[in-house]
Subunit: 400 residues, 2 copies
């Protein structure tokens, strides 16, 4: 008789955003005429840049002609044209990344979830709390114990390595999802030093790097000296270029990141990951890779930056409203997320239901991101100007 | 200090097709002027169908307009338009599959590799030998033991459940990769009955179903009564519609497929898989899903069938040559693969190197698929008519 992986049984039944989708569906069933303003899931609304659309269509045409048709990619790690474009992008931000450190994927979530496969069971895993649920869930599914490092108002939701730091694997995210907090270069250096000292691996989620404006906030962990021996970085075009429905991201594992195996041999993590992907992944759609390449052209960068600027304006609207209401928050600067303390000591799900039912605004309850999210709420700046303005008008009316 | 998953260290270093790519690269380095004829990796050469290209371009345009832009898919399981089209395709072949049993993916390899996540460690896993390496490797990576059921000339490379069959999970593939053998409905029913009796799960790879011509060979395991309580089917558009570089497939887990957990509760495998995918996958690119939808339209079917017919003609050329040479083989009928016994008692890698060096033809050594592949060799019909004819001409010259 077949047995299932029973780790799944002890997990929360639903991935956070599926639970939110479920509550929304319920609400809409009973209120079919009400229009919702969605500022919950971190989903973008600006269309793909014209340069990106053109590149994808051109590649689709290539796939329709025998002379230019492409089948399997030899490596499945991404075509050189795209890896070179990404490496160039890294160089421009002062990060030390080579094209052959990069593997292209169908979005950061896949690699972020699957990376657990390459690590042994005995590792101590640390996650800052609150955190993007995938860090925790992917480890719980594999039957691993996760320890937490508190992020809270006391440390500006950007905790540094605690005294006696001894985790083998630590997940960091800056600009942070959900709190919008960031690490400066100096702070990040503390993490890199702690990781190198303990021979830990930092899994660094830089999905929101394109929102950084402050000069002292690095857009990649590979801007920090020493990171190449301790860090894996995961990034995505979802937020940078509106690829949430187009699906493309990339993972950087430097050649210098090695681990000593129990037989004393030195093993490159990049090789183990390549072996894993070789058996469980077959590369990203060629037209999608061409679309992604276009993001990194001069024209593409100009166009995607305009979208980022559009979202920044939304973040300014949200924070201006919260300022007027005297509601505390982090983020909204260097970040598309605004992380607010729920008014009147409400819990996050209570606040969620209130906004949904009273003013038809959807956000994300902090509880979904860990115990330190209790009583907090995440709003995203990814909606339209019109809807963001309307949502904040309704919020101000509700609380004043 | 971080520790890696040491199961990787005891595995063959390279995924079979990466090893082949490596040998080809070496050869080309020393013989830059020689043109290779590739009949090794199961990669297609016919371009995408015009209906498919048009659909993808139209969807790319939609992504470039605010009104029609799409971000994350709510479920990540595939849009209804595609799931309905696939369900309709299943109905036409007489298979009992509902749209909501289907999850769309970025190719069958991902799900085939990742499905191990939902099963417990204590299961007995059986694989027919020879087999597609992913079945074995994905389990070895997870530290699981794999048992083998011999496929050989004695059973026409299509073994039936052995006496005292007691595996909890069994991987089957028909039409088979690499041997080209198939199960008739009657034979497949024996597997379904054995699985239901033992409460085992059949992981059924139907990636080559579009090549079936014989009426008594089912194109889906869900053509067989009883399969909905014991089978997971994985299929792909890679071979059906030339999607090897476009990336789209689908997995079917029927609602009736349940497992009893150790606490006595009944758990649907589809729910566990949905929970896994909810945390580790974010759906397939929207333009790719629209391209896939077009495969199942009347025009799309007409166009992709023409490509399949083209490959069938190649298979006929290959088998005609082998017949003339008196070389034994299976497949080439109901299948794009021809599985041949290497002449002169050569080993598969020896034959590989001979063909590569002497006549610049690339095939796949049977050794890469398991111990029963020793001394066999796989040729694919996915090349062009011209190259297939030339490869077989050279082969005939070399051996006569």
């Amino acid at each position: 008789m077949v047995r299932i992986n029973e780790n799944f049984l002890s997990m929360e039944k639903n991935y956070l955003f599926i639970e939110i989708a479920h509550r929304i569906a319920e609400y809409k069933k009973h209120n079919p005429d009400k229009e919702l303003i969605r500022m919950g899931i971190g989903d973008v609304t600006r269309p793909l840049a014209p340069a990106v659309v053109e590149a994808m269509k051109k590649a689709a045409d290539e796939m329709g002609r025998e002379e230019t048709f492409r089948g399997y990619e030899d490596s499945g790690a991404g075509y050189d044209f795209l890896k070179n474009a990404i490496a160039q992008y890294y160089r421009q931000m002062g990060a030390d990344v080579d094209a052959d450190d990069i593997r292209v994927n169908d979005g950061a979530k896949s690699d972020c979830g699957n990376i657990t496969d390459i690590f042994g069971d005995g590792n101590t895993i640390a996650v800052t709390d609150p955190a993007y649920p995938v860090y925790v869930d992917s480890n719980l599914m594999a039957g691993r114990k996760v320890t937490y490092i508190d992020a809270n108002e006391g440390n500006g939701f950007a905790p540094l390595p605690p005294e006696g730091f001894d985790a083998d694997i630590i997940y960091l995210c800056s600009p942070n999802n959900p709190t919008g907090s960031v690490y400066t270069a100096e702070e990040l250096k503390k993490w890199v030093d702690a990781a190198n000292e303990h021979r830990s691996v930092i899994i660094y989620d830089s999905a929101y790097e394109a929102f950084i404006t402050d000069k002292d906030v690095p857009r990649s962990i590979f801007c920090i000296e020493g990171a190449r021996t301790c860090a894996i970085e995961m990034c995505s075009l979802s937020k940078t270029a509106g690829f949430t429905g187009t699906r493309c991201g990339y993972t950087v594992i430097p050649k210098e990141l090695t681990v000593t195996a129990s037989d004393g041999s030195t093993v490159r993590l990049a090789d183990i990951w390549a072996r894993r992907q070789g058996s469980k992944f077959n590369g990203v759609s060629y037209p999608v890779q061409r679309a992604a390449e276009a993001v990194f052209t001069e024209k593409g960068q100009e166009q995607v930056r305009a979208a980022i600027e559009y979202y920044r304006e939304n973040a300014r609207m949200i924070t201006a409203s919260l300022d007027r209401l005297g509601i505390k928050y982090t983020g909204g600067k260097n970040s598309p997320y605004v992380w607010l303390r729920c008014p009147d000591d409400m819990g996050g799900w209570e606040f969620f239901d209130l906004l949904l039912n009273k003013i038809q605004v959807v956000g994300t309850p902090g509880e979904g991101f860990g115990k330190n999210g209790k009583g907090y709420f995440r709003l995203t700046s990814f909606s339209t100007h019109e809807k963001t303005a309307e949502a904040m008008k309704r919020t101000e009316k509700l609380f004043s």
